[in-house]
C-alpha cells in the first residue's frame, strides 16, 4: 500500500503543479522581443525613414533594379553592355525590375514614415519630431510619384491603423497639392522652443537643429514646387516665393545621410547593390565623361576611375582625368549586329569594356554618405526660377553659388574627394553664366550635381529637357528610340490591387508604358 500512496501523492503533486502554471495565457503571448506603441520612442523610426530614403533594405531591390538599372542609364550618367541588369541603357522592357522601387518604397519607407507620423502626432513632447515626420513622409512620396505618376497616397501605409489592404491610387496633382501643403505647414510649425529630436541623422549634431530643418524643408519645397514649372506655374511660383526667403545657405546645410559599413541596414545601399569597387558591368556614360572633360571639370578624377582586376585577382586603377573614357550608350558585347557591338567600335579600349571609366570608389563604397538634398541643387533651382519668372533673386548669383557648391560638396565623401575652392572657381570660369543660354546651363549643372541622386537627375531632365542627351535606338527597345518618361507599375499590382491599378492605368495617356507621361511632365 505504501507504493500506492507514493504514486497518488506524486500524481497529486504534479497535477497541482500543472494547475498552478495556469496563468493568463495572454501573458505568454506577449512578445518579449519587442514593446508596444505607447511605450515606444518614435524618434527611432525617424532614423529608419531617413536611412531607407537612401534606398530599399530589400536585398536585390530598388537601388539596382530602378535607380541604376533604369534612371541612371536613362539620364546617361551611366551606360552598360549588360542588357539584362542595366536594361535602361537600351530602353528594354524589364517590367519586374521597373516595379521594384514602387514595391520596396511602400514597405520600407512609407510604412515607417506613416508610423512615425501617427505615433508623434498630437504629443507635445514630439512637436518638432512630428513636423520632421511630415517633411520626410512628403519626401518619400514625392520620389515614388515622380517615377510612376498616380500612386496610392492618402490611403497608403494604413494597413494596420485603418485596415486598408488595397489602397486607391490618387491623382498626381492631388498628391503634389498635399505634399506642398504638408511641407509648407510643417516648416511653419517647427518650433525652436520644442523638442530636439534625437533620431535625426541629418541635423541632430548641428548647432541649431530646428533652424537647419526650416532651411531643409524650404529647399525641399522649392524642389517640389519647381516640378510644376510646366503644368502649374502659378502654384510653383507662389511656393518658391514663400520658401526662397529661407533655404539652405551653404554646403554646411546639406542634408546628408551618413552610412556605416557592416550590414545591409546601415551601409550605403547603392554600393551594396551595384558593388562598391568595380560596379561590375556599370560604366560612366560617354555623355557624362565628355561633358566633364570638355569643361575641365575638377570632379572627374574624384567621381571616375578605370579599374580592372586580372585573372590572379590583382587590381589596377587609374584616376587620371585624361585617361577617363565614357562608355557610349546602347551597345552590347558581341552579337550579330555590328552596329550594336561595342567591340566593333574604333574607340573601344584595348582591354574591352574593362577600359571604360566606372564610378570611383570615393563616391561608391559601403560607407559612403548619401546626399539627399543640397545647397547647390537649391541654388540651381532658384536660378531657374529667377531666370524663368524673375522671382527669388538673381539668376546669375544663384547659378554661381550652385556651381561652386556643387564642386565643393564632394568633400562630404572624405578627404580624397575634397576639391578646393580655387579649383572650383577656375572651373566656374569655364562654365560662367550666360544669360542667353541660362536654362540649359543651369540644368546641365544640376544634372552634373545630381550624379548619385539618379531619380532627381531624371526628373529634372523631364521637367527641363536639359542637358541634351543622345537617345539610342537599340533593336527591341520599347520607346521607339526615345528616352523613357516614367517607370511601369510592378506587375504584381495586377494581382494584389487590380481594380485600383486599372483605374490608374485608364488615366494614363498611352497606358502603363515607359513612354507615357506623369501629370507634371508636359515639357515638349
Amino acid at each position: 500500500m505504501k507504493l500506492k500512496n507514493i504514486y497518488l501523492l506524486t500524481t497529486a503533486f504534479l497535477m497541482v503543479m500543472a494547475v498552478a502554471c495556469k496563468k493568463e495565457l495572454a501573458t505568454t503571448n506577449t512578445n518579449p522581443n519587442a514593446i508596444t506603441g505607447d511605450a515606444y520612442n518614435p524618434n527611432l523610426l525617424l532614423t529608419t525613414v531617413q536611412l531607407n530614403y537612401t534606398g530599399s533594405t530589400n536585398f536585390g531591390g530598388s537601388a539596382w533594379a530602378t535607380k541604376w538599372g533604369a534612371a541612371a542609364c536613362f539620364i546617361q550618367h551611366t551606360a552598360s553592355t549588360n542588357a539584362g541588369f542595366y536594361y535602361g541603357d537600351k530602353y528594354l522592357n524589364n517590367i519586374g525590375a521597373m516595379g521594384e522601387m514602387f514595391q520596396d518604397s511602400y514597405t520600407s519607407e512609407v510604412q515607417p514614415a506613416v508610423e512615425l507620423f501617427l505615433l508623434s502626432a498630437n504629443k507635445p513632447q514630439y512637436r518638432n519630431l512630428h513636423q520632421m515626420a511630415r517633411i520626410m513622409k512628403a519626401m518619400v512620396f514625392e520620389q515614388i510619384t515622380d517615377q510612376y505618376g498616380d500612386i496610392p497616397y492618402f490611403q497608403a501605409g494604413l494597413g494596420y491603423y485603418n485596415r486598408i489592404y488595397t489602397p486607391a491610387y490618387d491623382k498626381q496633382q492631388a498628391i503634389y497639392t498635399d505634399l506642398l501643403k504638408e511641407v509648407s505647414q510643417a516648416v511653419d510649425s517647427l518650433d525652436e522652443n520644442a523638442d530636439k529630436p534625437t533620431g535625426d541623422v541629418l541635423y541632430s549634431s548641428a548647432g541649431d537643429q530646428i533652424a537647419e530643418w526650416k532651411q531643409f524643408g524650404n529647399s525641399l519645397l522649392v524642389r517640389m514646387a519647381m516640378r510644376l514649372t510646366n503644368v502649374d506655374p502659378a502654384t510653383a511660383k507662389s511656393y518658391v516665393t514663400k520658401a526662397a526667403a529661407n533655404t539652405m545657405k551653404s554646403n554646411d546645410d546639406n542634408a546628408i545621410v551618413q552610412h556605416q559599413d557592416g550590414n545591409q541596414l546601415t551601409q550605403n545601399r547603392d554600393a551594396t547593390e551595384i558593388f562598391g569597387n568595380d560596379s561590375t558591368d556599370l560604366r560612366l556614360s560617354s555623355v557624362l565623361v565628355s561633358s566633364m572633360k570638355n569643361n575641365g571639370d575638377p570632379r572627374l578624377p574624384v567621381v571616375a576611375w578605370i579599374y580592372s582586376t586580372d585573372a590572379n585577382g590583382n587590381i589596377t586603377s587609374d584616376t587620371d582625368p585624361n585617361d577617363q573614357l565614357g562608355m557610349p550608350p546602347g551597345f552590347i558585347v558581341g552579337g550579330n549586329n555590328p552596329q550594336r557591338d561595342i567591340t566593333k567600335l574604333d574607340s573601344v579600349p584595348a582591354n574591352g569594356i574593362a577600359g571604360y571609366s566606372r564610378l570611383n570608389n570615393n563616391i561608391l563604397n559601403t560607407a559612403a554618405p548619401t546626399l539627399i538634398l543640397t545647397y547647390a541643387e537649391t541654388e540651381f533651382l532658384l536660378a531657374d526660377a529667377a531666370k524663368r519668372w524673375g522671382i527669388a533673386g538673381d539668376a546669375a548669383t544663384h547659378y554661381k553659388n550652385g556651381v561652386l557648391a556643387a564642386v565643393t560638396q564632394l568633400a562630404a565623401y572624405g578627404d580624397a574627394a575634397t576639391i578646393d575652392e580655387g579649383d572650383a572657381l577656375s572651373y566656374y570660369d569655364n562654365v560662367a553664366y550666360d544669360d542667353g543660354n541660362a536654362l540649359a546651363q543651369i540644368n546641365t549643372q544640376y544634372w552634373l550635381c545630381t550624379l548619385m541622386d539618379e531619380y532627381e537627375a531624371w526628373a529634372n531632365w523631364r521637367r527641363t529637357g536639359y542637358p541634351t542627351l543622345q537617345p539610342t535606338n537599340y533593336p527591341g527597345n520599347v520607346t521607339n528610340g526615345t528616352i523613357p518618361r516614367r517607370l511601369t507599375y510592378p506587375p504584381s499590382q495586377k494581382v494584389t490591387n487590380l481594380t485600383n491599378y486599372n483605374t490608374a492605368v485608364a488615366r494614363l495617356t498611352g497606358g502603363d508604358k515607359i513612354t507615357s507621361r506623369v501629370w507634371w511632365d508636359t515639357a515638349p
Binding site: K2, L3, K4, I6, Y7, L14, M15, A18, A26, T28, N29, N31, P32, N33, Y40, N43, L45, T47, T48, T81, N93, N94, I95, T107, Q111, L119, P152, A156, Y160, I164, Y165, G199, V201, S205, Q258, H259, D261, T266, A271, F275, N277, D278, A311, N312, G313, G334, G335, N336, N337, T343, G352, I353, T366, G476, P491, S492, Q493, V495, N497, D512
Partner: protein, 1048 residues
C-alpha cells in the same frame, strides 16, 4: 531487496519532474538482480506439444514468489525449489501449465499452443491499442521492416506511395533535407500542413529551420526537420491516423493527421537478443537534362571573341553554331567550340556512399518487463560534393511491471548529428547546383574548378566564370562555402500507470523533447560578390534551442454493464509548453583571413529572440460496445491556446465514431470480417506562431556614425497583426467499409470523407502599398472530399512460394470556398532575379494551390497576338492566368512481394496524377538559350524591329511563363528489394538466429513523367509556399546497395 530497488527508483522518480528525464537515461542499461533461494535444483526441457521443438524463453515461476527463470534456446531451465513448490510455465501463445515439484528433480514439460488467436489490434490516439473492429475510423499501419532495407536518411520518405491518403515527398536539398508529408490534403491554406509525430507517446518538435526564401525564390538552404532524426532500425511500427475523429484526442495539433511511431520494445527471444543491421548504399545523380547541343556560348549568334567576352556570356547559350574551332572561354583558354556539357551533372556530382550500422540489445525479464537498447551510426558521404551527414542515435525503451498494480514505461532517445554543408538552392547565390545545370553546351563544368580544383584563383578568391557575381562558381560554393548544422537532441518520456483492484487506472506521463541546433554559415573570403563590395567574408553563427514539455494525466476504467454491454471511459488533462530560443551572431570582415570564427569578425552583431507557447487541455472519451459487433465512442476536448487573442483562446470540440461488424449478423461465405464504420469530428486550430495579435515595435540595429549613435527602429514585421484572432475549425465526416475474405488472403478497406475548414487563420497577402505584405485574418473556408482504397491480397500461397500484393489508391478533391471577400491569396512566387513571375495562389472556387503564370494577350479566338515590331507577343500585355492546382488529385502505389524458399523479392511502383508544376529550371534554360525549344530560327531576324532570336525568344519567355507549367504526373519504379534469408539452423548450428542479406534499390527508374529536364517531384523546401514551384536544387538521385541483418 529487489522490491527495495523499485521503491528507491520510484521515490527518486517522483522527486523532481525534470530529474525524471535524466532518470530515463540512467534507466537505459539496468539489470535486475535475481533471487537465488531454495533447497534443491530442478531442471528440465520445455517443448512444443505439437512440433516437439524445444521452446526458448518460457518463463518458469516459483509460484507465490518472485523467483523466476527463463528457458534457454534448447528449452532447458533450472530453478531452485522445495518439494512443496509449484512451478508455473508460461509463454505467449501457449496455455499456461503448473506442476508441483514433489520429489522430482527433472521436470520436462510439453506446452500446448493456445487456441485463442491473437486479436487484430491497432494503435490509436494516445497509444491506446484497440481491437481493429472497435475502431470507427481509418488507421493505416506500416511495419518497421519495410522502412529499413531500402532506406532513406529520413524514414518518412520511405512511406511514399505506401499509404492511401498520405502524400510524402522528399525535398531536393541534400542529405538532410526535410520531408513534406501531407495527409488528406492541404487544410492549412498558408501554414504548416505537416502531421504531428509522436514517438512512443512523446510529441516530436518538427520545426524546419530552412532559410530558403519561401516567398520569393531568392535562395537559402534547408536546415532539415525534426522527424529526420529517427533511426528506422528502431521502429517497430508506424500508425497513421488520418481523419479528424482519429486525431481528436490530440487537439488542434493533430488536425493535420498524426503519425504514431512505436519503437521496438525489449522482448524475450531466441539467443542473446542482439540484432545487427548494416546497410551500405551508393547514391548517384540522375541526369534528366536534355538540352540543345547545336549552339554554344555567346550573345546574338556570335561566339566569344575574348576572355572578357566569354566571361560576360557564361549565362547565355545564344552564341554561334558549334563549329569545333578554338574559342575563348571565361578563363582566357581557347578550347574547341563543340559540345562538352553533356554529362556535366555526372562530372560535378560524385558517387555518394551511405553506411548505416545499428546494433540493438534486447532483454526480457519475464513478467517483470523488458528492455531494449540500440546504437546506430549513419555516415552519408553525399553525392553532393563536400556535403554529408553523420548521425549517432541512442535509443532505449524499458517497460517495467513494478508490481501487479503499477507499470513504468521509460523511453529515451539521444541523437547527435552533423550536417556538413547543406547546399544553397533556388536562386544562384552560393547555389552549387546552378552551374552544372546551366553552363552553355560547349563548357565542360570541370573547367570551372580552376587551378586549385576548388573554384578559386591563385590568391584564394572565387574564380568567377559568370558575369553576374551573384551566380556562384559551383566548385567554390561546394568547397569554400560553409553551411554546417550541428544538432543534439534528447527526447524522453516516463509513463506510469497505476491500476486499482477495481479496474480504475490512473496514468501520469511526462514527455520532454530538447533540441539544440547550431547553424554555421560562412560566405568565405574571396566570394565574388563580397569582393566587389569590399567585404572580406561574412558569417552567421546561430544557436536554436527548442524544448517542449508535455504533462498528461489520465484516468479511466473498463466497465462491463451486462453480458452484452461493455464500455470504457477515459478522462485526461494535458499541459504543454514549448519554447524556442534563437541566439544569433553575425557579421562581416574576418580580421585574420580564413579563420572562420565569429570572434574574428570586425563588424559583429548579436541578437536574441524568444518564442513561447503554452497550451492547456482537458479531454475525455467514452466507448460502448454491444455484443462485440456494435461499437460507439464519443470524445470531447477543450484547448486553451496562448497564441490567440485574449478572450478567444478556447475551443471545445467533439467527436463520435462507431463501427458495425455486420459479418457477425449476416453470415456471408468466406467473409471473415465485414465492417462498416462512421465518424464525425470537429477540431479547433490555433495560430502557428506566437505574438501575432498586437503590433509591436523594436529596433533592427544601430547606426554608428560621426553624428552619433542611432538605434534603427521598426514597427511590426510586415504583417498586420490581428487583435481578434480566434480559433479556426475543421469538421470532418468519414465513412468506411472493411472486408476480410479467405482468412486474410483478400482484404479491402475503403474510406470516404468530407471535411470543411472554416475561419482558417491566413496571412492574406495584401497590397504592399498598404505598408504591409500581409494581414493575419480568420477568413479561409476550404472543403475536401476524398476516397481512399487499400486492397491487399495473397493470390498465391504454397509451402515454398507466395505472392503478396498490396494496392492503395487515393482521390482527393479540395476547393477553396471563401477567403473573406478576397478573390485569392498569393503564396510563393518565383520572381527572383530571373524575370519569372509565377505564383501560387489560393483562389476562391478552385482547388487549393493554383499555379499562376503570365499568359500572352490573345484575340477573341484565343490566338496569341503577335506584336508586329517584336515578331513575338508583347510581354507588357501578358496577363496572369491560372494553370491548375499543384496538388495531384490522384495518387497510388502497388507493392508486390514474392517469396520463394529463402528468397524474397519485393518492389514498389507508385504515382501521382493530375498536379501541375511550374519549372523555373526550364524557364532559365529557355531564357539562356539552352532549351531545345529555342533551336528553331536562330539565324532569323524577327518583327519590324529586326530583333535577334535571343530577343525574340526573350519576349516569348517573359510573355508566356505559362509555357513552363507542366503536368507533374508521374509513375515511378520506386523501390526494389531482393533478399535472402540464410538457414541459420543448418549453417550456424543455431548460434546465429537470423541472417538476411538484401540487395536494395531506391528510385529505380521513372516509368512516366512530363517534365523535361527535371524530376516532377523536385521542390526546394517543404513549405507550402514553394509547392508547385520548382527551382534549381539538388538533382534527383538513385541509391543502390546491400542490407545485412543478423540476429544473435
Amino acid at each position: 531487496m529487489q522490491k527495495n530497488l523499485y521503491y528507491k527508483s520510484l521515490i527518486f522518480l517522483c522527486k523532481n519532474v525534470y530529474l525524471t528525464v535524466l532518470f530515463i537515461v540512467l534507466m537505459g542499461g539496468f539489470a535486475i538482480a535475481q533471487d537465488q533461494a531454495g533447497s534443491k535444483l530442478v531442471t528440465g526441457t520445455v517443448t512444443d506439444a505439437t512440433t516437439k521443438e524445444p521452446l526458448f524463453g518460457v518463463t518458469v515461476t516459483l509460484k507465490g514468489t518472485k523467483t523466476k527463470v527463463i528457458t534457454d534456446f534448447k528449452g532447458i531451465y533450472s530453478i531452485a525449489a522445495n518439494s512443496t513448490s509449484v512451478l508455473a510455465f508460461s509463454s505467449t501463445g501457449y496455455n499456461p501449465t503448473e506442476v508441483t515439484v514433489g520429489g522430482q528433480t527433472v521436470i520436462d514439460i510439453k506446452l500446448e499452443p493456445s487456441n485463442e488467436q491473437l486479436k487484430d489490434v491497432v494503435v490509436t490516439a494516445l497509444g491506446i491499442t484497440k481491437e481493429k473492429r472497435a475502431v470507427g475510423y481509418s488507421v493505416a499501419e506500416v511495419k518497421g521492416a519495410s522502412l529499413t532495407e531500402a532506406r532513406e536518411n529520413t524514414f518518412v520518405n520511405s512511406l511514399e506511395g505506401r499509404v492511401a491518403g498520405v502524400s510524402v515527398s522528399g525535398v531536393a536539398t541534400g542529405p538532410n533535407g526535410a520531408s513534406n508529408v501531407v495527409i488528406r490534403g492541404i487544410t492549412n491554406m498558408t501554414g504548416n500542413n505537416q502531421p504531428l509525430y509522436i514517438l512512443n507517446g512523446i510529441p516530436l518538435v518538427n520545426n524546419n529551420y530552412a532559410t530558403t526564401d519561401v516567398g520569393g525564390g531568392y535562395g537559402g538552404k534547408d536546415g532539415g526537420d525534426g522527424i529526420g532524426d529517427i533511426n528506422p532500425d528502431d521502429i517497430e511500427s508506424v500508425s497513421i491516423l488520418k481523419g479528424a475523429a482519429a486525431t481528436a484526442l490530440y487537439g488542434y495539433r493533430g488536425s493535420n493527421g498524426v503519425v504514431l511511431i512505436t519503437t521496438k520494445k525489449g522482448k524475450k527471444g531466441e539467443g542473446l537478443g542482439v540484432e545487427i543491421n548494416s546497410n551500405y548504399v551508393i547514391e548517384n545523380v540522375i541526369d534528366e537534362t536534355n538540352f540543345q547541343t547545336e549552339y554554344g556560348q555567346g550573345y546574338n549568334n556570335a561566339k566569344p571573341v575574348s576572355a572578357a567576352d566569354a566571361l560576360g556570356s557564361m549565362e547565355s547559350s545564344w552564341g554561334a553554331k558549334l563549329d569545333g574551332s578554338n574559342t575563348y572561354q571565361f578563363d582566357g583558354v581557347q578550347r574547341p567550340y563543340s559540345e562538352a556539357a553533356k554529362g556535366n551533372l555526372g562530372r560535378f556530382y560524385q558517387a555518394g556512399g551511405n553506411f548505416t550500422n545499428t546494433v540493438s540489445f534486447s532483454k526480457g525479464f519475464g513478467d517483470d518487463g523488458a528492455t531494449r537498447f540500440s546504437v546506430s551510426n549513419l555516415n552519408d558521404q553525399s553525392y553532393v560534393p563536400n556535403a554529408g551527414l553523420k548521425r549517432y542515435t541512442f535509443n532505449q525503451v524499458t517497460n517495467l511491471n513494478l508490481d501487479k498494480h503499477l507499470t513504468l514505461d521509460l523511453s529515451s532517445q539521444y541523437v547527435t548529428e552533423y550536417t556538413k554543408n547543406a547546399p544553397n538552392v533556388s536562386d544562384a547565390v552560393g547555389n552549387l547546383n546552378w552551374g552544372p545545370m546551366f553552363v552553355p553546351p560547349n563548357i565542360n563544368i570541370t573547367t570551372l574548378a580552376g587551378p586549385n580544383h576548388n573554384g578559386t584563383i591563385a590568391n584564394g578568391n572565387e574564380l568567377n566564370p559568370f558575369s553576374d557575381p551573384y551566380t556562384t562558381n559551383p566548385y567554390f560554393a561546394a568547397y569554400k562555402f560553409i553551411g554546417a548544422i550541428h544538432r543534439d537532441r534528447f527526447t524522453g518520456s516516463a509513463n506510469t500507470k497505476y491500476t486499482f483492484d477495481n479496474g480504475i487506472f490512473m496514468g501520469l506521463a511526462l514527455a520532454y523533447d530538447y533540441t539544440n541546433d547550431r547553424n554555421t554559415n560562412v560566405e568565405p573570403i574571396g566570394t565574388g560578390y563580397l569582393v566587389d563590395q569590399g567585404i572580406t567574408g561574412d558569417m552567421t553563427e546561430q544557436n536554436v534551442k527548442q524544448t517542449e514539455l508535455n504533462l498528461d494525466f489520465t484516468t479511466g476504467k473498463k466497465i462491463k454493464f451486462s453480458k452484452d454491454f461493455s464500455g470504457d471511459i477515459l478522462l485526461g488533462v494535458n499541459y504543454r509548453k514549448s519554447i524556442q530560443e534563437f541566439l544569433n551572431a553575425s557579421g562581416q570582415n574576418f580580421a585574420i583571413p580564413f579563420l572562420y570564427n565569429v570572434g574574428n569578425l570586425e563588424n559583429y552583431t548579436e541578437s536574441y529572440a524568444l518564442n513561447k507557447e503554452e497550451f492547456q487541455s482537458v479531454y475525455g472519451s467514452a466507448g460502448v460496445s454491444y455484443k462485440g459487433f456494435l461499437y460507439v465512442t464519443v470524445t470531447g476536448r477543450n484547448d486553451w491556446y496562448s497564441t490567440l487573442a485574449p478572450g478567444k483562446i478556447n475551443y471545445l470540440y467533439p467527436s463520435i465514431n462507431g463501427s458495425f461488424i455486420f459479418s457477425e449478423l449476416l453470415h456471408i461465405p468466406n467473409l471473415d470480417m465485414g465492417k462498416l464504420r462512421f465518424s464525425y469530428a470537429d477540431v479547433g486550430g490555433a495560430a502557428d506562431n506566437p505574438y501575432q495579435t498586437l503590433q509591436t515595435y523594436s529596433i533592427q540595429g544601430t547606426l554608428n556614425i560621426t553624428n552619433g549613435i542611432f538605434p534603427i527602429g521598426s514597427a511590426g514585421n510586415g504583417q498586420v497583426p490581428n487583435s481578434a484572432l480566434r480559433p479556426s475549425s475543421r469538421s470532418e465526416i468519414e465513412g468506411g467499409l472493411e472486408l476480410d475474405f479467405f482468412k486474410n488472403r483478400l482484404t479491402f478497406d475503403l474510406s470516404v470523407y468530407q471535411k470543411k475548414v472554416t475561419d482558417d487563420i491566413v496571412p492574406v497577402g495584401i497590397d504592399y502599398t498598404s505598408g504591409y505584405s500581409s494581414a493575419l485574418l480568420n477568413v479561409g473556408t476550404l472543403k475536401y472530399t476524398g476516397v481512399e482504397l487499400e486492397l491487399g491480397g495473397q493470390p498465391v500461397k504454397t509451402k515454398n512460394f507466395s505472392w503478396d500484393i498490396h494496392l492503395n489508391a487515393t482521390y482527393t478533391k479540395g476547393k477553396v470556398v471563401s477567403l473573406g471577400g478576397q478573390p485569392q491569396i498569393t503564396l510563393g512566387n518565383e520572381a527572383g532575379d530571373w524575370g519569372a513571375n509565377a505564383y501560387t495562389q489560393q483562389v476562391v472556387g478552385k482547388e487549393p494551390l493554383q499555379i499562376i503564370a503570365l499568359d500572352p494577350a490573345r484575340d477573341s479566338q484565343g490566338k496569341i497576338i503577335i506584336d508586329p515590331g517584336l515578331g513575338a507577343p508583347d510581354p507588357t500585355l501578358a496577363q496572369p492566368k491560372d494553370f491548375g492546382s499543384a496538388i495531384s488529385p490522384w495518387m497510388g502505389g502497388i507493392n508486390n512481394t514474392f517469396r520463394y524458399g529463402h528468397f524474397n523479392l519485393s518492389f514498389l511502383i507508385d504515382g501521382k496524377f493530375g498536379g501541375k508544376l511550374f519549372s523555373n529550371t526550364n524557364l532559365i534554360a529557355y531564357q539562356q538559350g539552352l532549351s531545345k525549344l529555342t533551336l528553331p530560327g536562330r539565324d532569323v531576324l524577327y518583327g519590324t524591329n529586326q530583333q535577334s532570336a535571343q530577343a525574340y525568344y526573350g519576349d516569348w519567355q517573359s510573355a508566356n511563363e505559362g509555357m513552363f507549367v507542366y503536368d507533374a504526373s508521374f509513375i515511378k519504379f520506386r523501390q526494389l528489394i531482393v533478399g535472402y534469408d540464410f538457414d541459420t539452423k543448418k549453417l550456424f548450428n543455431n548460434k546465429i538466429h537470423g541472417l538476411r542479406l538484401s540487395f536494395v534499390c531506391h528510385n529505380v527508374f521513372t516509368i512516366k513523367k512530363h517534365t523535361p529536364n527535371i524530376d516532377p517531384e523536385s521542390t526546394y523546401s517543404a513549405s507550402i509556399y514553394t509547392q508547385g514551384l520548382e527551382a534549381p536544387a539538388v538533382p534527383y538521385s538513385r541509391t543502390l546497395g546491400l542490407n545485412l541483418n543478423i540476429k544473435l
